[in-house]
């Protein structure tokens, strides 16, 4: 019996750690929130246990004589009970007030304006994330999709916008969430503290493929981040070999170019995600598949089976075209 209980508890506790967990945090804001969660859980657990114990004690004094009719309790015991209830009510008010004050201070800390090292605009689409790295110098601005790289230890400032319906940007290991609402620009700030990869997911129901709208935040060291940033600013890798060249030609002449942009080719569509450095990302299709030539080919062959209802149509490709396109796209680091 005890063994079963222990394994149950172990089952429930497994996976507190993780790359998308509010209890396994690696940023200033996320850690502050995790502490707040534990504080609340502790206080609430104590209250619940107290109430349950009092209830069980009250039930122990049972007196199941069905022949006894109703009774009026004594004046004195009612007065004593009134004092106890009053004290409990005051204690409740005290606990609520302290928790409210703690929340106030946590909110203030979380939204305190720090000088941001990096300014990003995240625009939510059905069902992917467009990320624009803003900069005062226009030639340093670039656009990517579904994967954000940030340097560790610096304050990152996100401007949140929505292109169609309401979405919500949520990377629990780093900070709390904020909605992306059409017609408004919201902001979110966080300061990552540890190098690593953290997963996020859209947290506001946005339609058919809300379940498959995830993103990655990759926290790099300063040097790695700079290396990545320079790579993103560069145009797409030139195709190597006849297969990749065929792939590039197909991309530019078929339906692909009307929706997607690849810097350095004639494809300059803005409806779908930017694919200039597709292969440098860990996942394609907003977290649906890990990036490799096979998954890219699978996605091209039939996106509607992998992510039914998403806005990428099924373009008819024969085997040769599929090979060429997937070779080209898999090489876009």
């Amino acid at each position: 019996m005890a063994r079963h209980a222990l394994s149950l508890i172990a089952l429930l506790c497994c996976g507190c750690a993780g790359w998308q967990s509010a209890l396994d945090t690696h940023a200033v804001q996320g850690t502050r929130l995790a502490h707040l969660i534990w504080l609340f859980v502790g206080v609430c657990a104590v209250v619940w246990v107290t109430v349950t114990v009092v209830l069980l004690l009250a039930l122990r004094k049972k007196n199941d004589c069905p022949d006894d009719g109703p009774h009026t309790p004594a004046e004195a015991s009612e007065r004593r009970m009134a004092r106890i209830v009053r004290a409990a009510a005051i204690a409740t008010a005290g606990i609520i007030t302290s928790l409210t004050i703690v929340s106030f201070y946590a909110t203030r800390e979380l939204t305190s304006a720090a000088v941001a090292a990096l300014d990003l605009r995240v625009r939510g689409y059905q069902w992917w994330w467009e990320v624009t790295y803003l900069d005062a110098r226009p030639d340093q601005v670039f656009i990517t999709a579904n994967e954000i790289h940030v340097p560790v230890g610096r304050s990152i400032h996100l401007r949140l916008a929505a292109a169609d319906v309401i979405h919500s940007f949520w990377v629990p290991s780093l900070t709390g969430k904020q909605d992306l609402i059409p017609g408004r620009e919201n902001t979110l700030t966080f300061t990552p503290q540890e190098v690593g990869i953290y997963r996020g997911q859209c947290a506001e129901f946005c339609g058919l493929q809300h379940a498959h709208m995830s993103l990655l935040v990759v926290v790099d060291s300063a040097a790695d981040f700079e290396h990545w940033r320079r790579g993103q600013l560069a145009p797409a890798a030139t195709p190597r070999g006849p297969e990749q060249e065929t792939g590039k030609r197909l991309f530019e002449n078929k339906a692909c170019a009307s929706c997607h942009n690849i810097q350095g080719s004639t494809a300059s569509g803005t409806i779908g995600p930017d694919l200039t450095h597709l292969a440098s990302r860990h996942y394609i299709a907003a977290g649906s598949l890990a990036t490799n030539r096979g998954s890219i080919a699978a996605w091209l062959a039939d996106p509607q089976t992998i992510k039914p209802g998403n806005n990428m149509p099924r373009v008819r490709l024969n085997a040769g075209e599929l090979n060429a396109l997937s070779a080209y796209l898999a090489a876009l680091r």
Partner: protein, 184 residues
């Protein structure tokens, strides 16, 4: 007897409702291939639509999801650049009830796929067949004279004309006021 008639009528209404409201995200490849098989007349005006279109119940004219997708495509592929919100700028209007190449959906499909003289680009290579049909269906019904229950409604944008499901959609459009010789 009346009960039976009533339930038959009711059932028929419900079934049409089903078709209007159903959503399919993935056309089977044979159907997608057959939807390409339109047989236009030599002058490109009118022609035989694919048989599968009739078998499916003209889904691109009557299905709410297809019409909505058509409307999204209309925005995404910048049809507004020449046709505005349907009122027409450099391109003709869809709202004044006059169709240059005839009112059949097939003609509109061919217009979008192959382009037309004097400025309409060919989108055949840039859109899949299903997208072409969705656009054609939307364009055809945008100028409908009666509010269709399947028609999409206003966009979340600045208002420039009544919504598609408000009849009548035919209004005086800017292109109507231009010299008539422009289009003759």
């Amino acid at each position: 007897m009346t009960g039976r008639i009533f339930s038959l009528v009711f059932g028929a209404v419900l079934l049409t409702a089903c078709q209007r409201e159903s959503r399919s995200f993935r056309l089977d490849p044979p159907i997608a291939a057959s939807l390409e098989a339109v047989a236009p007349m030599p002058n490109g005006i009118g022609g035989a639509p694919p048989d599968s279109d009739a078998v499916l119940g003209h889904p691109y004219l009557t299905n709410a999801y297809n019409l909505n997708q058509g409307k999204q495509l209309y925005t995404w592929f910048n049809c507004k650049g020449c046709h505005a919100d349907g009122g027409g700028v450099t391109g003709p209007s869809f709202l004044n009830g006059w169709w240059r190449y005839g009112p059949q959906a097939v003609s509109i499909f061919i217009s979008i796929r192959d382009g037309r003289p004097r400025g309409m680009p060919a989108f055949g290579n840039h859109l899949t067949t299903e997208q072409l049909w969705q656009l054609a269906g939307y364009v055809r019904t945008i100028g409908a004279y009666s509010a269709m229950t399947a028609a999409p409604s206003r966009n979340d944008e600045m208002q420039s004309r009544p919504a598609e499901n408000r009849a009548p959609a035919a209004i005086a459009t800017p292109s109507d006021q231009w010299p008539a010789t422009r289009y003759r």
